[in-house]
Symmetry: C2
Subunit: 248 residues, 2 copies
DNA sequence: CGTTTCGTTGATAGTACTCAAGTGGTGTGG
DNA sequence: CCACACCACTTGAGTACTATCAACGAAACG
């Protein structure tokens, strides 16, 4: 099965994807951005400084997968938000919760900008400004949807929604289904979906029994039945809209 | 008690507040904004068009209190986000969920701008751009915190957090405690906190028994013990940071 | 003054959490 | 090569919390 995945043609091969090599092609606006930015490569589980709100560094994801962690006093750790290539990360957009850290969930490359440079870039270039605005709006929509998922969906539905999101973002279409490489750890998923790790384990067992999920080992999973997986989440259409790259 | 509230001096009287008269004083940036904007007055429960994502109208709250509602298929209605004076509302920042509507939760005034006018405003004025960016960032932080609240806190803690938020935003400090005028309906609160209305009723009963909440009738409530209320929420400090107006 | 709507409360059921024991894979040392 | 420890994960039993359903009470409205 793994071989099938590796050789499979992906329908989404023309866009950035977590876990792949950093994109080399630069658009015009990317080149302008590059002048202000410092490229930073991070390994898996590496943390990026996010504690001090005053300097307010801006990160722009080039490749890989990152996440914001935080913990409310006396409560288990939470994974607040996931960041994909193109996303903009800054402390001021996150709630001032204790132990808020930006962590690379996979090997990633980000561009680091001082807040002043970011602001200067936006005011200098109207197109750049509009595209950043649009991207921040998408991220806001995703954050709001995440609250909706946690508040309204059952555990099974939450997990199905995450699998759909990951499939759309970093999935590779193969003959046996959609393969996902290097996903989040079980603890990460539990923290993201506001579930207990034990409960999540029960859910994954149910999904395997239903034929929705196959564990391939070493962090590789396979989604053999995309149709039925989408049927298991009441927001499959919304996820499709938010996690498919806009062509414009 | 009502009289006490009406005559009470408020420590926060110098800022916009829901339920009061629209602010009349315009700063320089406000005046620039005003050229592009159409003022719209809405009564309680009035809905504003938000369905079509293409024209993407931008609303800026001048006074009052509004909220975004949505419903996932087969699930109860949700109140995704609350908007206070100064907030920026646009469809593109919200997830594409069915039945998404913008509703005035109190008598309010908003400024309506076409998306093009909003963009033009931002590119024309760097200060305006920076301040809008900052505001959108705050709103993002609040949306993210809301997910955190729903995901990690118990029903009692969620309700305490909402009372603190409302107290900070629209509360009037009186001799008997902090009074709040015209709050959300019971259903609104339940939909916002991702709780069942019946469960919420039990929680309010507990809060009254604990001396944290007094119902005054006709939508007026009183928080007699702010200290203890803050102790009932693990994120009181975070709420304070996000819902106190920045002096800059 | 009836009707309607909203809010409260009790009994019951469902779901997820907690704690604990068990399983499987991996790496290390004998 | 095997024994062992270690870790992540799984699974079972009991518990806590919230949802559901139904009945009741109170306030608003015509």
């Amino acid at each position: 099965m793994t071989i099938i995945l590796q050789n499979a043609m992906s329908e989404t091969a023309n866009r950035d994807r977590a876990g792949e090599l950093p994109v080399a092609r630069l658009t015009g606006t990317d080149a302008a951005l590059r002048e202000y930015a410092t490229p930073v490569r991070v390994r898996r589980r590496q943390r990026l400084a996010l504690d001090q709100p005053t300097p307010d560094t801006v990160y722009i994801v080039r490749s890989g997968l990152l996440g914001i962690e935080a913990a409310i006093a006396g409560k288990p750790r939470q994974l607040l938000e996931l960041f994909y290539p193109g996303d903009i990360i800054r402390r001021a957009n996150m709630p001032p919760l204790p132990h808020a850290t930006l962590t690379a969930l996979n090997v990633s490359e980000v561009w680091r900008l001082p807040a002043r440079g970011f602001e200067a870039l936006l005011t200098a270039n109207a197109d750049q400004n509009a595209s950043m605005q649009r991207r921040l709006g998408e991220q806001h929509a995703r954050a709001s949807l995440h609250a909706s998922i946690i508040g309204a969906l059952s555990g099974d539905e939450r997990f199905a929604s995450l699998l759909i999101e990951l499939g759309l973002r970093i999935g590779l279409r193969g003959a046996a289904g959609i393969g996902i490489d290097n996903p989040l750890s079980r603890t990460d998923i539990a923290d993201y979906l506001a579930l207990n790790p034990d409960t999540l384990s029960r859910i994954t067992s149910r999904f395997r029994a239903r034929g929705l999920l196959i564990h391939l080992g070493s962090g590789q999973i396979l989604l053999p039945n995309w149709e039925e997986l989408c049927a298991a989440s009441p927001i499959a259409a919304t996820l499709q809209a938010l996690h498919t790259p806009t062509l414009g």
